[in-house]
């Protein structure tokens, strides 16, 4: 059973159009900015590579997204979804 909005192994994750994403050259994490509500959201989790923004804008598998981070919490995508940063389908 897949609940609406629930993240499963087949979920696709994509950055919402109103959100910009930046990551840092030291791979220490990333920040998101939502122009709809002027909110900044910080993710202090080390990234593996700099392709995060391109990945999110293009959309991709949730499992692949999590692999871009080093030891991400299981709830990362849900947190991003709840903050209105990404859409999960």
């Amino acid at each position: 059973l897949k609940l609406p909005g629930a993240v499963t192994s087949t979920s696709k994750v994509r950055l919402k159009p109103s959100v910009d994403c930046r990551f840092f050259s030291d791979l220490s994490g990333c920040v998101f900015y939502n122009v709809l509500n002027n909110q900044t959201y910080f993710v202090h989790i080390q990234c593996r590579e700099s392709s995060l923004k391109a990945f999110l804008e293009g959309g991709g598998a949730a499992t692949e997204f999590e692999k871009l981070f080093i030891e991400p919490p299981e709830t990362l995508i849900e947190e991003l979804m709840n903050k209105g940063i990404v859409a999960v389908t």
């Binding site: 910009d20 930046r22 840092f24 050259s25 030291d26 220490s28 994490g29 990333c30 920040v31 900015y33 122009v35 002027n38 900044t40 910080f42 993710v43 202090h44």
Partner: protein
């Protein structure tokens, strides 16, 4: 009272009404500045009420009909004026990113010292200003959102408590205002380290680094380390006066700034170490 024009460089305030007791401090700090034709702010320092003019006298800071602070004891008038001018800049300038940070410049490169009260930021700023650095600002970094350069302000450094005597000891002829006692921050004085002529030669400069200083007198060995840039981003957002107003522009500016500069946290007890560290690791030794 004849208006006094406080030219801070990027901005000017017209001080319409003020007690004669602050005239010496005004002349010490801003007496040599060249007034511009137009002022950006109109401010005044006036007694709170007729009663308060005579009974435990108080003073009120007013800017363009707004009264941002509660009245303070009359003896704190000059400190209130400086805090009021900080408020004017922080709440009216939306063309720059404003960070609660000192800005020191050497070899044409700027270092930002965003720090919480009590971290020794102002004392460090004064010491560097006395030892060959240019003090662009003690309280507020004014950052051009396009070029990411730091703009100079013609403002004094606010020194508190023990630092007042330290600065006097480092530079016996320093320009320091009379001490305002028992303010919310303790004893406070304002110190100036450059003349208007010297200030007029300053140009916006590239920011080379962001250093979070932490003074610890008990430290036996100085320690410094780089900080995660994502952490610095969050810190700077909290230190920005107008991040919420600039919105996306601030987000973009802070990110571009952090990603291009060096970021450190330094725990120090020795001021000579800080000078060496900044030259070695941040601004370089110049040509």
């Amino acid at each position: 009272v004849k208006p006094f024009f406080i030219n801070m460089g990027l901005f000017q305030a017209r001080l319409n009404d003020y007690p004669s007791s602050i005239s010496p401090a005004l002349n010490q700090i801003y007496g040599d500045c060249q007034p511009k034709e137009m002022s950006d702010f109109t401010v005044s320092l006036a007694p709170g009420s007729i009663v308060r003019k005579y009974l435990r006298p108080q003073i009120v800071f007013e800017s363009n009909t707004q009264i941002p602070f509660k009245p303070l004891p009359f003896s704190q008038a000059y400190a209130l004026l400086e805090w009021g001018l900080n408020w004017c800049l922080a709440t009216h300038d939306f063309n720059h990113l404003l960070l609660h940070s000192a800005v020191l410049v050497k070899n044409n490169k700027a270092v930002l010292f965003p720090a919480l009260p009590g971290s020794g930021k102002s004392t460090l700023s004064c010491w560097l200003a006395i030892n060959g650095w240019k003090l662009y600002s003690d309280e507020m970094a004014v950052i051009n959102t396009d070029s990411l350069t730091a703009e100079p302000l013609y403002r004094p450094a606010c020194i508190k408590n023990r630092s007042i005597e330290l600065v006097r000891g480092w530079q016996p002829d320093a320009t320091i205002t009379k001490v305002c006692s028992d303010t919310a921050k303790g004893d406070v004085a304002h110190a100036k380290f450059q003349t208007w002529t010297e200030y007029s030669c300053l140009q916006p400069v590239e920011i080379a680094g962001i250093v979070f200083p932490k003074y610890d007198g008990d430290l036996t060995e100085e320690q410094y380390y780089t900080i995660a840039k994502s952490q610095v981003f969050e810190e700077l957002c909290q230190h920005a006066f107008n991040y919420h107003v600039l919105g996306y522009q601030a987000f973009d500016t802070v990110w571009r700034l952090i990603d291009k500069v060096k970021v450190f946290e330094v725990h120090y007890s020795n001021l000579d170490f800080m000078d060496e560290f900044l030259l070695d690791e941040v601004v370089g030794h110049g040509e």
